[in-house]
């Protein structure tokens, strides 16, 4: 198999809380991202998915946060955690780029979109202003903005939400990065605009061959776009599998609960089962398995011993004692 373009091992990002405690927001996350693939990172608010993505770009404010020694973030063979600030800047926005959820607050309101797109090309590739402006227009064309020669001089407030997200994508892709981290790129958008942006990302990935890490709370978006999925809960990856495998044979009760919570258009209308309770606070993860207070199957072992990621099949892992003791599953076994 080809080499992963991004290797993350035992990533731990902790924060000092106001009371002097420690919030273990990301607590030992490992994964590989291969060239050209889309990896979905799914979870609810507070599970650590955004902190994971910010850690990859080393955008964690220090203090109060810090990435623990022993963590590894390796992009194309280089450990980003030991890079000097200057070398890190050469990577960010160049080899590794990111788009954020809220396009309005992530764009500079007093610069034209052309200037903002051109900046990356000037800084990383040494283009002249004139060449960078031409590149900005090319990028606007690429992301499907009509009349790029006019729009290049627009300010962000003159554009609709969907157009702003296209500009964000143009900014991120101007240097043709190897890895694009997309943190909830369509969450603030209407569903018809979301469909446009997802289609755009899919087309650009095929044309430019980059790997995408797609962070989202929406299982529907993941099902339609990702090749593989990681499910996060309470700062940890609790399940990982290929997308078809995860949706057809979820193993972790949290994954099952999430799937049973989603209102469906493709199934008969029935009562949603939901998951009782809420995600705990990062400063006080429960003992043992962090999901046990909300889990319908939990028994003594779950309360006391923390499970590791067990292999349940080829490329399919789950952090659950049920893998070891399947007879403990309550009720009829999942089909």
């Amino acid at each position: 198999m080809t080499e992963p373009v991004l290797r993350v091992r035992d990533l731990k990002t902790y924060f000092v809380t106001e009371g002097g405690g420690t919030a273990r927001a990301v607590d030992g996350v490992s994964f590989d991202l291969y060239p050209g693939e889309t990896l979905g990172l799914v979870g609810e608010s507070g599970c650590g998915k955004t902190i994971t993505s910010l850690s990859l770009l080393r955008l964690i404010p220090e203090p109060p946060g810090h990435i623990r020694p022993g963590s590894l973030i390796e992009l194309e063979g280089r450990n980003l955690l030991t890079l000097a600030p200057r070398d890190l800047r050469a990577v960010r926005g160049n080899r590794l780029a990111m788009i954020f959820q809220e396009p309005m607050s992530s764009l500079n309101p007093v610069l034209t979109v052309g200037d903002q797109i051109a900046e990356g090309a000037i800084v990383h590739q040494g283009l002249s202003r004139r060449a960078a402006r031409a590149r900005a227009m090319e990028m606007l064309q690429l992301v499907g903005i009509p009349d790029p020669e006019l729009r290049v001089d627009d300010y962000p407030h003159q554009l609709s939400g969907g157009m702003r997200q296209r500009v964000m994508i143009a900014m991120a892709l101007v240097c043709h990065p190897q890895v694009l981290i997309a943190d909830e790129p369509t969450t603030a958008l209407d569903v018809t605009i979301q469909a446009q942006i997802l289609e755009l990302l899919d087309r650009l990935q095929r044309e430019l061959g980059m790997a995408i890490m797609l962070i989202t709370h929406d299982l529907g978006v993941v099902a339609g776009t990702a090749d593989r999925v990681l499910v996060m809960y309470a700062g940890e990856v609790v399940e990982g599998a290929s997308t078809p495998d995860l949706f057809a044979h979820p193993v972790h009760p949290y994954t099952e609960g999430l799937l049973a919570s989603v209102p469906r258009l493709d199934r008969p209308r029935e009562r949603l089962s939901g998951i009782p309770g809420t995600v705990p606070a990062a400063s006080a993860w429960p003992s043992g398995c962090r999901f046990h207070p909300r889990c319908p199957h939990a028994w003594d072992r779950c309360r006391q011993e923390e499970p590791t990621l067990f292999e349940v099949g080829p490329g399919h892992t789950a952090r659950c004692w049920l893998v070891v003791e399947p007879a403990r599953r309550r009720g009829a076994a999942a089909p």
């Binding site: 609810e44 209407d190 018809t192 469909a195 339609g224 997308t243 949706f247 057809a248 209102p263 949603l272």
Partner: protein, 333 residues
Amino acid sequence: MTEPALVQVEGLVKHYPGDRKWWGLGAPRHLVRAVDGVSFRIAAGKTLGLVGESGSGKSTVARTLLRLTEPTAGRFLLENEDVFRLDPEPLRRLRRRMQIVFQDPYGSLNPRMSVRQTLREPLEIHRLAAGPGREARVRGLLEEVGLDPALAASYPHELSGGQRQRVGIARALSVEPAFLVCDEPVSALDVSVQAQVLNLLADLQQRRRLTYLFIAHDLAVVRHIADEVAVMYFGRIVEHAPAEAVYRLPRHPYTRALLSAAPVPDPAAQPQRIVLQGDVPSPAHPPTGCPFHPRCPHPQKNERCRTERPELREVDPGGGHVAACHFAEAPMS
């Protein structure tokens, strides 16, 4: 649709002045027709789902019905009272009969009031339950929405999003309304919590025989709760029908596109996506003819769509299915 309706809305219009000439001091350049002639009925104990994207006017409908903002024209009968003609005092009394649950459970709770104070205030205003009865009422409301009564002493910042939304629902129920407007009540919540709150709303409706106007952008969420669905685009209802009919055979190409764009959490059953081009039109420059025509993917779209605005008409005699499309009889598959 001749059964007695608890809620009857006819020709609801809300126009806002657009930006003004002379640096904001002169006459408005144009009118923003946020809601432009919306009519519907909801039978007692039923739910109408009102669906649309940002800017479609669905939240303006909610706010004008409660007269949180004054309508420009139209009529709203609630249990045969003409809400838009009421003077302030009778309107205050009628507010007991209609309540609203907002999207943002944080922004709609007063951060300086405890849960107890939040729930007692409407009881005091409407002089419901006095003395110890009031405390019992607070307790009962918290239990009814699935919260531990011990949370009565908490403040909003101490609660999770789901708990806050339950407090918002309890506050709305405290005055025993008949009609509840739910404006995107679950869209700010995580999916596992969203399911809990949707179930709660369904249970409360059954127990209290509540009538809901349920506003949302998510068609899958609406399907879980609505008896009928109305789809808004650009200030008007473009399709309205019993829920199953809308989902089974949408007659308006916009409804069809919305349904196809909704993400389906099953990689093996991905829908054939209709990706609409462009954005919702600017209210400053409304399109001629059918307001959807610049984005419409219907293969038979023609000159008529560009010039003549289709009215809502029945497409399925007796079935209560109306749509505003010249080609509603030949819907896109």
